[in-house]
Amino acid sequence: MAKDYYKPEDLKKFGTIGNYQKPLADKFFAWYGEVFKEGALTEKEKDLIALAVAHVVQCPYCIDAYTTNCVKNGYSEAQMMEAVHVGAAIKGGAVLAHSVQMMNKNEEISF
């Protein structure tokens, strides 16, 4: 068993996922590259979205990568933290919204 997870140097090895399944990896990287190109949204806007999502999915590699991109692209500390709060609020809201299901079930099975 591995002694530790999430080694920073592994981020640089991301490209090697193709070693085990190249056709799918090629498709993924091509799609990923297209997604982050300027389109209806700017590359800069996409970096801030990616930062928020990186926190929601709790990917340390993505947090490192998109924090760097956001700082490089001129986002302030306050803007980056607000983006994380947006992600956290959606995640927290999603948890709480599920409580309706809990309440429904409770009503269903209780006197």
């Binding site: 760097t68 700082v71 692209n73």
Partner: protein
């Protein structure tokens, strides 16, 4: 004041070069810069001409920026003498070099600065002054610098790390942003940066940490929007510069454990087109004591253009300089990363 100690300065330059060399043993992803050039069929960097005569008139500065490759500050005593300035003028005139680029430290703190600028103007040269902005408000005697610059046709190029106080002050010191804004307003009031005034005011952005600059075009747009809407300030162009691993910035990288990853980032972003167009192929850099270098960074690393007397402005030999091979080391990756970096910002369009 800290007394100038030549041996100590040379030892420090040698130490930095050793640290730069050492990175090749710390990471297999950082080859020697020379080898990287060869990989792209560039055997060496040779001059294509000599249009820019950059003079570092002294290391004294009223600021102590965290990224400063000159290690400049209020205590530095290295100041170019009038005699050395005259030697510079002789070379500029004799070889009809069109652009004179004055840097420091804060060049305005050299007591012969105004005399030198006037002399260059009298020779009809294009003059660039790398002004740190806050010097305009440092003392009453500097308040008329916008007029002086305008009267002598000086192009003002000023560092402003960011368009807000938080990031600017982190790099340049507390209160620097506010003073810089006042100075920019003084320059604007004299016509600098205004359309059709003929008075050029360019800004220089450099990253506030261990990362590469974003696109120059994007940054210029944002700087223009923010400075205009929040402060009513205008300027002409923005140059995005990469921080080179030299002096204070090199120490910062090492002390924060960012050194190897930053060098790897520079290598990953190596652009052969930028390498072919680096600024050192068309300039010469003169130190406060008259020695000649390929650029201001080589100057700080004491990498003179020659080992003999041709390395001094007193023996300025244009034929030799045009045939020389530019001295390189690992810090040169800073000028070849991405869109490249020079004293005039990005080198190539990506």
């Amino acid at each position: 004041m800290i007394a100038y100690n030549k041996a100590k300065e040379e030892a420090e330059a040698l130490r930095q070069l050793q640290v730069l060399e050492l990175v090749t043993t710390k990471s297999t992803n950082v080859p020697y810069f020379k080898d990287k050039l060869k990989e792209h069929n560039i055997s060496s960097l040779k001059p294509v001409g000599l249009d820019v005569f950059q003079v570092n008139v002294g290391k004294m500065c009223n600021q102590t920026c965290r990224h400063c490759h000159v290690n400049a500050g209020p205590d530095r005593q290295e100041i170019m003498t009038k005699e050395t300035m005259q030697l510079c003028l002789n070379a500029i005139q004799k070889f009809n070099i069109p652009i004179v680029d004055l840097t420091g430290g804060a060049p305005e703190l050299n007591p012969h600065f105004r005399w030198f600028v006037k002399a260059c103007h009298a020779l009809g040269k294009r003059i660039i002054v790398r002004c740190n902005l806050t010097i305009l408000l440092e003392a009453d005697e500097h308040n008329d610098l916008p007029d002086f610059f305008a009267e002598n046709g000086v192009e003002v190029v000023s560092s402003l790390p960011f368009y807000d106080a938080t990031r600017t002050d982190k790099v340049r010191g507390k209160g620097v942003f506010e003073t810089s804004i006042k100075a920019l307003k003084m320059l604007n009031a004299r016509g600098y940066g205004k359309p059709d005034s003929g008075l050029l005011l360019d800004l220089v952005y450099n990253p506030a940490g261990a990362f590469l600059p974003a696109s120059q075009t994007m940054l210029e747009t944002e700087f223009k929007e923010h400075l205009w809407s929040e402060h009513g300030i205008v300027f002409n162009k923005l140059f995005a510069l990469t921080n080179l691993p030299v002096s204070r910035f090199l120490n910062y990288l090492v002390n924060t454990d960012n050194y190897v990853s930053y060098m790897e980032e520079l290598v990953n972003a190596f652009n052969p087109l930028a390498a072919e167009n680096v600024m050192c192929r068309n300039m010469i850099s003169v130190s406060w004591d008259g020695y000649l270098f390929d650029c201001d960074f080589n100057q700080m690393l004491n990498m003179k253009v020659a080992a003999d007397e041709r390395n001094h402005v007193a023996n300025f030999d244009l034929d030799y300089l045009l045939k020389r091979e530019v001295k390189v080391s690992q810090h040169c990756y800073g000028c070849t990363a991405g869109a490249g970096s020079s004293c005039g910002g990005e080198i190539v369009l990506l």
